[in-house]
Amino acid sequence: MTPVLNVSNLGINFGGLQALDDFNIQVKNREIVGLIGPNGAGKTTVFNLLTNVYPPSRGGITLTGQNTLGKATHEITKYGIARTFQNIRLFKSLSVIDNVKIALHNSMNYSLLQAVLRLPSYWKQEAAATEVCMKLLAVFNMEELADATAASLPYGAQRRLEIVRALATNPKVLLLDEPAAGMNPSETAELMHTIHDVRDKFDVAIVLIEHDMSIVMGICERILVLNYGLIIAQGTPEEIRNNILVVEAYLGQQRGE
């Protein structure tokens, strides 16, 4: 099976610092891949390069066979990469449903003139968008919160809303940046279910950055370990657990067992 996301020799330098080098990954459809490593290893940088928040210094990125390297971030979103952020970035003072509708922007195509004159295409597409939003929110049991302000949601719901918003762009690959950060164990357990559900219901591949090893070991089919901008190991959770390099660089210190 051809991979949905194919990244080869990706790298970036910030001045003299090589933040990431020689990064290769092939993600298959519906695969859940974990990306771990100590702080500052370059995990979020990978996401920022994939979405062109920083233009990569070198390397190639193809998404379902199309080259997305050097394309603007909003273009890449159209090709099918969506992401969440380490520090939640919602449209805070807007309603929950508007947060999701903004991500549906490109699925509508009525023009400015049609919008201002309120022509039928406006009404039709807006009604369809509202329906899509409500369906998406319903999947996450958030339909009753549709009119609430995003900032007023509890922390866990804000994290979920970010995932809903990312899914609204109809991605093929979903990048989750520390989705369990700041969650308690029961919320974390719920999140693991959610991530599985998302993969099954939306048919997406998921790349996940996470420090919580119970999540990474629990749901990832494959794990990549980064340290100082280089991949030091990759394999199944079992292989990673027993990899001496990883234990030395990371797990040994973290778990302290």
Binding site: T51, V53, A72, T73, H74, T77, K78, A82, R83, F85, R89, L90, F91, K92, S93, L94, D98, K101, I102, A103, L104, H105, N106, M108, Y110, L112, A115, V116, R118, Y122, W123, Q125, E126, A129, R165, A166, A168, T169
Partner: protein
């Protein structure tokens, strides 16, 4: 009844009726002499200040950027409209709207030209660069032959009437409020909320910044055209930095992100200096004091982000009455049972 009130066509009909009704009231007040000639003339500056404030609110309140060159766009539109109407000879009722549309389009084109480089910057930097552009426009107009230079442009037809101002105020409010509630408007709001997240959600942020900026400039241009045909003379020195700040003060006082607030604030801040004329030298002190007091006690502006909706207000009114009726009805039901 409640269903009819909630239906969208009814809401539009309601708002249209209200707009026509308000116009009828204003004209009646003028014709019966309740508003004297001087007060009637005040309606015109109130009108173009509303247009200026509402249009600036699109960039300052909804897009979340802080431009300080709104007077520059106003002058571009004003000169373009005036030069057009002076060079053609059409019936007034065709010439004026045509001139205003041309003024608006020229100002919008300048908005694109200036917006493209300026909107790469944010916050203070954008404020300073737009301030610079505003001054550049003023100095260029000051030094051009066909704009009359420092003598000003004289002999512009005095064609602005209360009716035309009213029509363009309504158009401005209609266009900007419908724009905000569309996918384009949501894109603009998302940039204010979080630009990185907007871009990641597939919003071409640069495009929408420039779009909002140039629509805002376009309406400022229309206001400039109304201004030119109201005073019949254009003087570049009236479009300086202070003018831009005055408009910004109206927007901030009304509430960044509230069109209703901008309208109220424009009315109050246009009338207030006139009403304070009796206090002579203390006029500006009182004016400034008012601004300070509002900013201390209501930093988000008079209206915050509140939007007035006639339909909702009537709905609430009826549901209040219904609520009290049901309470009474409920009481009697209990009694009978």
């Amino acid at each position: 009844m409640p269903k009819l009130l909630k239906s969208t066509p009814f809401r539009y009909a309601l708002n249209a009726t209200a707009a026509v009704g308000l116009y009828a009231v204003i004209m009646a007040l003028i014709n019966t002499g309740i508003l004297n000639r001087y007060q009637a003339l005040m309606l015109i500056p109130i009108g173009f200040n509303i247009i200026l404030a509402v249009s600036l609110n699109l960039t300052a309140g909804f897009l979340g950027q802080l431009p300080l060159g709104h007077a520059g766009f106003m002058s571009v539109g004003g000169y373009a409209a005036a030069l057009f109407s002076m060079s053609v000879n059409l019936p007034t009722n065709i010439e004026l709207p045509l001139a205003l549309v041309i003024g608006g389009l020229v100002a919008a084109a300048f908005g694109v030209l200036i917006g493209l480089p300026a909107l790469r910057l944010k916050g203070d930097y954008l404020a300073i660069i737009t301030l610079g552009f505003g001054e550049i426009i003023r100095v260029i107009i000051l030094n051009l032959k066909f704009t009359g230079g420092a003598y000003g442009l004289k002999g512009i037809g005095r064609q602005t009437t209360v009716t035309w101002v009213y029509i363009f105020v309504i158009i401005t409010l209609y266009v900007i409020s419908t724009l905000i509630k569309s996918r384009h408007g949501r894109a603009i709001l998302s940039i204010r909320e979080d630009e990185i997240a907007a871009e990641a959600s597939g919003i071409p942020t640069t495009y929408y910044k420039v779009l909002a900026f140039s629509i805002s400039a376009g309406f400022a241009g229309i206001a400039g055209g109304l201004y030119a045909h109201y005073l019949s003379i254009l003087d570049p020195s009236t479009f300086g930095f202070m003018r831009s700040v005055e408009i910004l003060v109206i927007v901030v006082l009304g509430g960044l992100g509230s069109l209703f607030g901008s309208v109220i604030s424009a009315v109050v801040l246009t009338i207030l200096p006139e009403m304070l004329r009796g206090f002579a030298e203390y006029r500006m002190v009182i004016y400034s004091l008012l601004l300070v007091v509002v900013m201390i006690f209501k930093p988000s502006g008079l209206c915050g982000r509140y939007e007035f909706s006639l339909g909702d207000t009537i709905d609430n009114f009826f549901s209040m009455i219904r609520g009290s009726l049901i309470k009474k009805g409920g009481g009697s039901d209990d009694a009978s049972a």
